[in-house]
């Protein structure tokens, strides 16, 4: 790995920077060489993409902060309209040019005003002779704003005629950003994903002080062995590592194993981690619940997760209505007679059932059905006589508001409305029991 070096910046700062960004040396050195010296011109816009938590924001922020380059850092999710975004940039610009003065709010309606005010701010802040960086995090939000915002940011250097570089950070590739009339293409840079070695190095960097580094590294190794297939997100892995470490240490504390007994420790932790994938990883059980569970020595998984709570207590007829709706949604019309009528006549021995197996509705999703069919099925599955009272009909609409059913094609409320059943098979099974 090349050591970072650049004539324009002090070696100590670069050394410090290098220690802050593990496994990102080549990206940082490339960025450094692109940025050049302070008074140099740089690219009008740089587009950096990479996976979730591949260090895009972190590297950019530490780089700009450590070298003390004048910069504006804005998250586009936070400032979700163009007006908010532009005003925030202007406010940050004021504060980065003059530390002491109080910043004042500048109203800025359009990009036209922005360019004018931007030029003023640069001149008054004394920033003309160095490159100013505007970093827009989560830049995919820019596509949601007015059509002129993204192209205008890409040529901000040309529009304002000042030394400014716009850096866009996103998870999505540049091809999906390009507007159809075209624009000035930015320089695209890729932050590659961390390999398993990198992840291991980063995760085992700050190990708990009461244990040795090797002990913690072995733990990280096991954790990656379980989760690496499914998840490469550094944040998620770090969170999981923090949650499950106390469980890993238990045998050592109890004295059943020492730090060298890797196999024993592995046997202890592995089922626990697999359980964690089904619960904590999916946020079925919250992290605090999980920790409490470990603390009380409870069996993991005995707690009901979030999805187990989906079972709703419904009135008698509502249950039948829902079952009838499910039957109507997932069965073809022509089998109705066979299934629900008592005297359905001859069973034709055709192969039509086989045909239907292939394109089963459980693959394609629910089909809409008319109200009449729902009621007909309801009458046939309820043993005693059901009067079509107002209550029955109001229960249907209340099922719609509970989002257990959904109305399709909202053109007619009274005359022949069509519904769809939007609950899963497990849910219906639970009701039917």
């Amino acid at each position: 790995m090349p050591n970072l070096e650049h004539p324009a910046y002090p070696a100590a700062a670069l050394l410090h920077l290098e220690s802050l960004v593990p496994c990102r040396e080549s990206q940082v050195s490339l960025l450094l060489s692109i940025f050049g010296e302070r008074q140099h011109w740089s690219f009008p816009s740089i587009f950096i993409y990479g996976h979730t938590s591949s260090g895009k924001t972190y590297v950019m922020q530490t780089l700009l902060n450590t070298l003390q380059l004048p910069h504006v850092f804005v998250n586009c999710v936070e400032y979700f309209t163009s007006r908010l975004l532009l005003e925030e940039i202007l406010i940050q610009l004021q504060s980065c040019s003059s530390e002491t003065e109080l910043t004042s709010h500048v109203p800025c309606d359009s990009f036209n005003d922005f360019v004018r005010l931007f030029k003023q701010a640069v001149v008054s802040g004394g920033l003309q002779d160095q490159t100013l960086y505007i970093v827009l995090d989560r830049a995919e939000q820019l596509r949601e704003m007015e059509a002129n915002i993204l192209p205008a940011f890409l040529r901000l250097q040309e529009l304002t005629d000042s030394n400014v570089t716009v850096v866009l950070l996103s998870e999505i590739v540049w091809e999906l950003f390009r507007p159809n009339v075209g624009c000035m293409d930015p320089l695209t840079l890729y932050f590659p994903d961390y390999s398993i070695g990198h992840l291991q190095k980063i995760l085992s960097q700050n190990h708990p002080p009461e244990y040795s580094a090797d002990f913690y590294a072995a733990y990280i190794n096991i954790l990656l062995g379980v989760f690496y297939m499914v998840c490469r997100d550094l944040k998620e892995l770090r969170h999981l590592a923090a949650l499950n470490f106390s469980k890993y240490c238990e045998p050592v504390i109890r004295g059943e194993a020492n730090e060298r007994d890797t196999r024993k420790l592995w046997k202890n932790i592995e089922p626990h981690l697999k359980k964690a994938m089904q619960t904590v990883y999916l946020r079925e059980i919250s992290s605090s619940q999980w920790e409490r569970l470990q603390h009380d020595d409870g069996e993991p998984g005995q707690l009901k997760g979030l999805s187990a709570h989906t079972h709703v207590e419904l009135p008698y007829y509502s249950k039948f209505l829902l079952i009838a709706a499910y039957l109507a949604s997932y069965n073809p019309v022509r089998t109705d007679k066979r299934f629900f009528l008592k005297h359905h006549g001859k069973i034709r021995k055709t192969n039509f059932m086989k045909k239907h197996e292939k394109t089963s509705n459980h693959l394609l999703g629910p089909k809409p059905f008319p109200l009449d069919r729902l009621l007909a099925i309801l009458y046939s599955i309820v043993d005693n006589r059901v009067a079509p009272t107002a209550n029955i009909f109001s229960q249907i609409t209340s099922l719609v508001t509970l989002q257990l059913l959904s109305m399709v094609g909202q053109n007619d409320q009274l005359d022949g409305p069509r519904y769809k059943c939007t609950v899963s098979l497990d849910f219906i099974r639970a009701i039917a029991r």
């Binding site: 990479g50 990009f111 590659p192 693959l363």
Partner: protein
């Protein structure tokens, strides 16, 4: 470090490199810094200059369109022409007059008005305000600027009408991104500007810059009839030999570079580079990809930014490295970073696409396909639960590798939303080849789709 290079590095100071970078970076990135030379655009340049001269000196009203693809040098030609124009004596004198009597009443100024229209002026009202501001009419107009659009327009037209051909100085309107201007309501501003240029009022020249070839079809009939149909096409009409010449020209240091011996050395090196086979390959690649000079700038800029004191002269390897950065498949990069489970889902989608001939699919189908794989062949994988697979699927959705056909609404179930895959077969297979530690059975599964049915 070899002895030769050591000797070189001793001869070159850090300031020298810094100056080289400063100079070349400004050339490649700073657009308004007028270049010394136009490549293959001399004819258009002369034509445009003639046109502008006629406007400024003789008071003719004109309108013209500069049409060319992105990065073909429309703004460059215009900038160059304006710069040249301002250097001529007569124009300079009128410019001087402006500073003496900044009175507006007879538009006693030659006003260059260069704005990125539409990108900034998203509607006519904003544009009109900007016109008033740039013509420095604010002091006259006062609060009127904030009046209604109609008032503002009437005021401006009145001002333009007051002048006549002999006494008042011409105004030049440059409408960048002209095509976006066409979408304004009723094309009011365009109509009025072109109308003024057609009638005997203040001499006005309207110059439109656009990259759309069909721009005239977008104009309304009345607007079109007032336009003079003078079109200047800027096409990148040079062959590879000229491209190489441009490459040399762009990279060379000028004669006024302070350290002459280094400039000489640098230019010799550039000459040497242009004859290098590897460099020619790199440039040929780029040339076949696009002829626009902006991408050449990006490539050169990337290469130049790696020049350091230790390595003061550009090498072919640096150019190759820059080209590698410049052109890599972004989607393949993204696929490279996916987890094994996500890769499996993508392969399942690929198979669905092949079997059902590109019909849209939903999560349930993908999961079914994946289950078939797990049950029959996979030894390296244990069975993942459905919610875990769902989470992986949603990650793909978030990366926009998979796109829903319609916007997901709250009512519909997530597993039955119809989707489409935004990757093609070859991309998937190429990415799989490069994928680190890909399980063998997954690879085999990807290669054979039909044997799984």
């Amino acid at each position: 470090m070899s002895k030769r290079r050591l000797k070189e590095s001793c001869g070159v100071s850090a300031e020298c490199i810094s100056q080289v970078q400063q100079l070349l970076r400004e050339r490649f990135c700073h657009h308004s810094s007028a270049p010394d030379k136009l490549f293959g655009l001399e004819q258009q340049y002369r034509y445009l200059l003639e046109l502008l001269k006629r406007t400024t000196l003789q008071g003719e009203s004109n309108s013209a369109l500069l049409i060319g693809p992105r990065g073909s040098g429309k703004s460059t030609v215009l900038n160059r022409a304006l710069k040249n124009l301002k250097e001529t004596k007569q124009v300079k004198e009128t410019l001087l007059e402006v500073h003496l009597n900044g009175k507006w009443s007879s538009i006693a100024q030659f006003h260059v008005w260069f704005q990125q229209f539409r990108l900034l002026q998203t509607n006519d009202k904003v544009a009109l305000k900007e016109i008033t501001r740039q013509l420095q009419l604010e002091n006259v107009v006062g609060d009127k600027v904030f009046g209604s659009f109609a008032e503002n327009l009437a005021f401006l037209l009145e001002a333009l009408r007051k002048g006549d051909r002999s006494s008042s100085r011409p105004v030049l309107f440059v409408l960048d991104e002209f095509d976006l201007f066409v979408h304004h309501k009723n094309q009011t501003l365009l109509y009025n500007l072109l109308d003024v240029s057609q009638s005997a009022q203040t001499p006005v020249t309207v110059l439109g810059l656009t990259c759309r070839q069909d721009i005239l079809e977008l104009l309304e009939k009345r607007v079109k009839s007032r336009f003079s149909h003078r079109q200047i096409y800027l096409l990148n009409s040079f062959d590879f030999k000229q491209y190489m010449k441009i490459f040399k020209e762009k990279l060379s240091l000028p004669a006024e570079f302070p350290d002459e011996s280094f400039a000489q050395k640098w230019n010799d090196n550039v000459q040497h580079l242009s004859e290098d086979k590897a460099v020619q390959d790199v440039l040929q690649n780029l040339f076949h990809h696009t002829k626009d000079l902006r991408s050449l700038h990006v490539l050169l800029m990337l290469a130049v930014s790696t020049v350091t004191v230790q390595q003061p002269l550009l090498t072919a390897a640096q150019l190759q490295e820059a080209s590698r950065h410049h052109r890599n498949d972004s989607r393949a990069n993204i696929v490279h970073g996916l987890s094994v489970l996500e890769i499996c889902l993508i392969i399942a989608m690929k198979h669905l696409n092949e079997v059902y001939d590109g019909a849209p699919f939903n999560f349930q189908m993908v999961y079914n396909e994946f289950q078939k794989f797990i049950q029959r062949k996979a030894h390296s994988m244990y069975n993942f639960e459905k919610p875990v697979v769902m989470k992986a699927f949603e990650h793909l959705l978030q990366l926009e590798l998979v796109k829903p056909l319609e916007r997901p609404c709250a009512r519909a179930q997530r597993e039955y939303l119809l989707m489409r895959l935004l990757l093609d077969n070859k991309q998937i297979m190429d990415a799989l080849q490069l994928y680190p530690n890909c399980p063998t059975d997954v690879k085999q599964w990807a290669a054979s789709s039909l044997s799984w049915l």
